[in-house]
């Protein structure tokens, strides 16, 4: 028995109040004076498994080996913490700075635990209704002292200081003491200690953690850091398995067993949905009572000017269109810091769907230039085609028809591949989730059977066809000048669709139609419904193309286009002078 190792454990014994501990063979602390064995055990986790030692510190004292079958005692929030950890690590591998994980995400999470009264507070939810442990105060303070790195963190973002509670008010303690008796009750229905209770808990005003919520945390941290990843990128990386999400639980430490209710909490059978995560992000941001986020300025990736450039490149449109998108951004005020920056404490907390908005701006510009009424764009294409034939040496005019043909082909191929890849997606984890110990052998047998069948069929599959997963990229399409089959339109000019008037350029097309005639008057969030068949085919194609890129519903993009239009044309009268381009909007 190693007394030296037990020295770091400084709590008082609950029986005799002495601080003199030894370690039993099982790694538990026992009091050398009264031989009382505690629930706590020495920290044994391998640091490789959970690299973030700060987050890991929360686990201290919780791991207790029951027996190899039952595994450790663990809490649901620890599971989420582990997933967040994995996700943060994955983001780091994608090239995001380590501060995201160590400072931002870590602090968000701590704040969440505190706000939801799971830890860092006086009366954690887990103790309610249970006999409070003796020496509460001493205990919490001694814990406090033993974990100085937790909250006196120098690199802590300012919001913690500016938060409602000052440091000294925050009481950390062994987060979830739980009696042994209740363990055996709950362990029937869940692997985690509080799985059953957790799945039943419904408390007003508290945002309950779910697996999709972990992505909201990730996105919030990315947003805080102003990283060059949009929400749609993040979700696409999840879908492409670059970020742990589905079956993230299978990377839990071996001793964290999941079954029963944990299945409903950690088992995920859907990819994250853009709108859902977006909503959750705002929800979490508000719940955490976060201060205004760092400003989104013109040099930020999330600024519409930069995102528009990115998406113009992605869909092979001329670079010259960027001037127009910038113009629209300016006119609508969508590039302003106050508009772009997320402020959860503001009265109406909302953040901008940066990616959707940028794409919507491009759609509006396309409508300004080509009208997209299944008519004008084609006649303009005829002009461009003729011009290009005559002037082969000049910079070619942008030919909408040619662009459409190339994009349609590329898009269809991409979509087909995407659908095939989705159909082939393997959802089930190596660790099957089961309801109870009775089901366990059945679940494992099923798994084994599936693995065997797959092994057998894998010999029938062409080995070259199943290449490894592609490396993550924020671009899905690649257009280069060298590729002769697929024309790159980046360098093409818009001369054919613009005309000079005085010093400014006007669009040849002087008409415009609004995607939405009437905005919903009620307070519901939806702006309008998108009935595909009511719109021109070109418009449909463009919406389909962009919404595929962002993996969102077409109606969401249509809605965003309508919102941009609303802003654009409301300002029309006040800025007539500046706006030399005549955009005649007809409104009812």
């Amino acid at each position: 028995m190693d007394l030296e190792e037990a020295e770091e454990f400084k709590e008082r014994c609950s029986q005799c109040a002495a601080v003199s501990w030894g370690l039993t063979d099982e790694g538990k602390y026992y009091c050398t004076s009264c031989h009382n064995v505690t629930e706590r055990s020495q920290e044994v986790i391998n640091t490789d498994l959970i690299p973030n030692t700060q987050i890991k510190a929360l686990n201290r004292g919780l791991k207790k080996k029951n027996n190899s079958e039952k595994g450790w005692d663990w809490y649901v929030c620890e599971g989420f913490q582990n997933i967040l950890c994995q996700q943060a690590e994955a983001l780091k591998n994608l090239g995001i700075g380590p501060e995201l994980k160590n400072d931002v995400l870590h602090n968000f999470w701590k704040r969440y635990l505190q706000k939801s009264k799971q830890a860092y507070c006086k009366n954690p939810v887990y103790t309610t209704g249970r006999k409070p442990t003796v020496l509460e105060d001493n205990l919490s303070h001694s814990d406090w002292a033993s974990e100085p790195e937790l909250l006196s963190d120098v690199s802590c973002p300012p919001f913690l200081e500016s938060g409602a509670e000052s440091q000294s008010d925050i009481h950390t303690r062994k987060p979830f003491p739980i009696s042994k008796a209740s363990q055996s009750e709950t362990s029937v229905c869940s692997g985690s200690l509080d799985g059953v209770e957790y799945s039943q808990r419904k408390e007003k005003g508290i945002v309950k953690m779910t697996v999709p919520q972990t992505l909201a945390f990730c996105y919030l941290s990315l947003l805080w850091q102003r990283e060059a990843i949009t929400l749609s990128d993040l979700l696409r990386f999840v879908e492409e398995d670059h970020i742990p999400y589905i079956n993230a639980f299978q990377h839990f430490p071996e001793q964290m067993k999941l079954y029963g209710r944990d299945r409903g909490i950690f088992g995920i059978e859907s990819w994250p949905d853009y709108e859902d995560i977006y909503k959750k992000t705002i929800e979490v941001g508000t719940f955490l009572d976060l201060p205004r986020f760092p400003d989104i300025t013109e040099d930020c990736y999330l600024h519409p000017n930069i995102l528009c450039m990115k998406y113009l490149m992605e869909v092979n449109l001329p670079d010259e269109m960027h001037n127009l998108t910038c113009h629209v951004v300016k006119m609508t005020g969508m590039g302003e810091v106050d508009f772009l920056t997320f402020d959860p404490i503001a009265k109406m907390a909302k953040t901008v769907k940066y990616d959707v908005q940028a794409v919507a701006i491009i759609v509006v510009v396309l409508k300004l230039l080509f009208l997209l009424d299944d008519n004008l764009e084609w006649s303009l294409s005829n002009l461009a085609e003729k011009h290009n034939e005559k002037n082969k040496k000049d910079k070619p005019w942008f030919d909408f028809r040619k662009w459409y043909q190339i994009m349609k082909k590329a898009f269809d191929e991409k979509k087909q591949k995407w659908e095939e890849a989705r159909a082939k997606y393997l959802w089930k984890s190596e660790k099957p989730l089961y309801y109870s110990f009775v089901d366990k052998p059945v679940a494992y047998k099923k798994r084994e059977m599936v693995v065997n069948l797959q092994k057998q069929f894998s010999t029938l599959v062409d080995s070259t066809a199943t290449a490894g997963k592609k490396s993550p990229s924020s671009f899905q399409f690649n257009w280069t000048e060298e590729d002769t089959d697929r024309t790159c339109f980046h360098g093409h000019s818009l001369q054919g669709v613009l005309k000079e008037k005085g010093q400014s350029l006007l669009t040849k097309n002087s008409l415009y139609w609004l995607s939405t005639q009437k905005f919903c008057r009620c307070y519901c969030t939806h702006v309008t419904t998108y009935e595909e068949s009511n719109y021109s085919l070109s418009y449909q194609f463009i919406l389909n193309l962009f919404s595929f890129l962002l993996r969102i519903k077409t109606s969401l993009l249509h809605e965003e286009v309508s919102l941009v239009e609303k802003k654009l044309f409301e300002k029309k009268y006040s800025v007539t002078k500046k706006k030399s381009r005549s955009k005649k909007a007809r409104r009812h």
Binding site: E419, A423, M449, V450, S458, T459, L460, Y535, R586
Partner: protein, 451 residues
């Protein structure tokens, strides 16, 4: 310009190609299916797992349809996860789907072999125990297809003795089928032994041993098959082999009972073969004509174009009853109604002869009865100028018979008749002349109205 956007409302086009797959169960409407599914879950969004696995299933089916075995195997690899579906209904349906698609892939895939198939079948038998017997049977059929009779037999025996708690009692017809197939395999061995026996001399020292062997086999087989053929259904090969064995051992009454039951029991689906077997049996037994006529009468109602109809006609012709004679004419007309029989020279010969006989017997009304419903289309169907030319070229004898019939039915002015008449054929010359005379005398058409 006020309602400009109204004008923009483009035509409704649906260029989405539905990849609907015709499954064995009949028509398949993918759009309907998705609609029904959303209704079932109250408009709630389906989980992506459910969406992708059902998409995966369509991809497997599509690949199978296009004979892309490799792709099918690729998608199948992913489809196996439905065995772990949390939706218990889907999970339970999965083994059968996987078995059907998987065995199809393994049957055709170039890299597959008997061993792979066996492993797969054995695995699938134990995934969903409900399918054990079905899979065993299909597995045995696969082995039979590959000529592995012994393995197939062993497989069937295993299936026969399989027990699984409550499921044992609900094995239903499958167990009978399995036993019957086993019986069929035994019949095959028996049949081979019988062949051996027939080659052996009675005095051969091996004769008795083989004969004993043959006898033993028969006994086991009949027990195996007889249970199945009592259940309503179409059991042609089983019935046939069973009867063959019964006959071989002289149990004629038994055989007749089996066949009569098979043909006449109303619970059985209508099956022409049942009547054919019975007729052939009666013929072998030299049964009275009236009995055979009554059997063929039923066959005539089910398959009027069957080749046995000519035999039926002969029987009717030989009968003493007048109504049989009339029916005999009907049968011949009936046979020739079918495109597949138009070049059947016997049928034409019979018709030519019988028409003449009927007309000579002053039964013009019978002929007109038959002809009335056919006079609109037979001329073009059988007696066109084109047919006259090609028939003459291919088979002059046939052309002659047809010409005679045409002459009798349409008169001497009809194109077919005239064309054949014009052909100057030395050997047939006499026959044609005789034909011309008969036509003149007996044609049902008044020469003035012929065309």
């Amino acid at each position: 310009m006020s309602d400009f956007s109204e004008e923009l409302k483009g035509p409704v086009t649906d260029d989405e190609v539905e990849t609907s797959v015709l499954t064995g169960a009949g028509m398949h409407f993918p759009w309907l299916q998705t609609y029904v599914e959303t209704v079932a879950i109250g408009g709630k969004r389906k989980k992506d797992f459910a969406q992708t696995t059902s998409a995966c299933l369509s991809f497997v089916q599509e690949a199978l349809l296009k004979h892309q075995w490799q792709q099918a195997a690729e998608y199948m690899y992913s489809y196996f996860q439905t065995l772990e579906d949390s939706d218990s209904y889907k999970r339970q349906a999965a083994p059968e789907i996987i078995w059907k698609l998987g065995s199809e892939i393994l049957f055709y895939h170039p890299k597959s072999n008997v061993e792979t198939f066996n492993t797969f079948a054995d695995r699938m038998k134990n995934v969903g125990v409900m399918n054990y017997l079905k899979i065993s049977l299909q597995h045995a059929l696969y082995l039979l297809h590959h000529g592995m009779l012994k393995d197939a037999k062993r497989n069937l025996s295993e299936a026969e003795t399989w027990r699984h708690g409550e499921n044992t009692s609900s094995r239903g017809i499958l167990i009978n089928l399995i036993q019957a197939y086993k019986g069929l395999l035994q019949y095959y061995t028996w049949s081979k032994k019988k062949m051996e026996l027939s080659k052996l001399d009675k005095d051969d020292y091996a004769y008795n041993a083989v004969a004993q062997d043959v006898f033993n086999h028969s006994w086991k087989t009949s027990a195996n098959i007889s249970a199945l053929i009592k259940i309503p259904g179409v059991w042609d090969p089983f019935v046939k082999s069973y009867v063959e064995m019964l006959e071989f051992y002289g149990d004629r009454d038994g055989a007749q009972e089996v066949l009569t039951n098979y043909a006449y029991d109303e619970k059985f689906p209508s099956n022409p073969n049942a009547h054919i077997y019975l007729y052939n049996f009666l013929k072998r037994q030299k049964a009275p004509r009236s009995k055979m006529i009554s059997v063929l009468k039923i066959l005539y109602q089910i398959v009027p174009s069957h080749k046995l109809m000519l035999e039926f006609h002969t029987l009717l012709r030989k009968s003493e009853k007048e109504e049989h004679h009339k029916l005999g004419l009907e049968v011949l007309f009936g046979v020739l109604d079918f495109a597949g029989c138009t070049k059947n020279i016997t049928a034409w010969k019979y018709l030519a002869k019988y028409l003449k006989k009927t007309l000579m017997g002053n039964h013009l009304a019978w002929v007109q009865d038959e002809w009335n419903s056919r006079k609109n289309w037979w001329p073009n169907f059988h007696f066109s100028y084109f047919w006259a030319k090609s028939d003459w070229k291919e088979d002059t004898a046939l052309a002659c018979e047809k010409a005679f019939v045409a002459g009798l039915l349409l008169g001497k002015g009809c194109r077919y008749f005239r064309y054949i008449l014009k052909q100057d054929h030395q050997i047939l010359g006499k026959k044609i002349k005789r034909m011309k005379r008969s036509v003149k005398k007996y044609s049902i058409v008044n020469p003035r109205f012929s065309y």
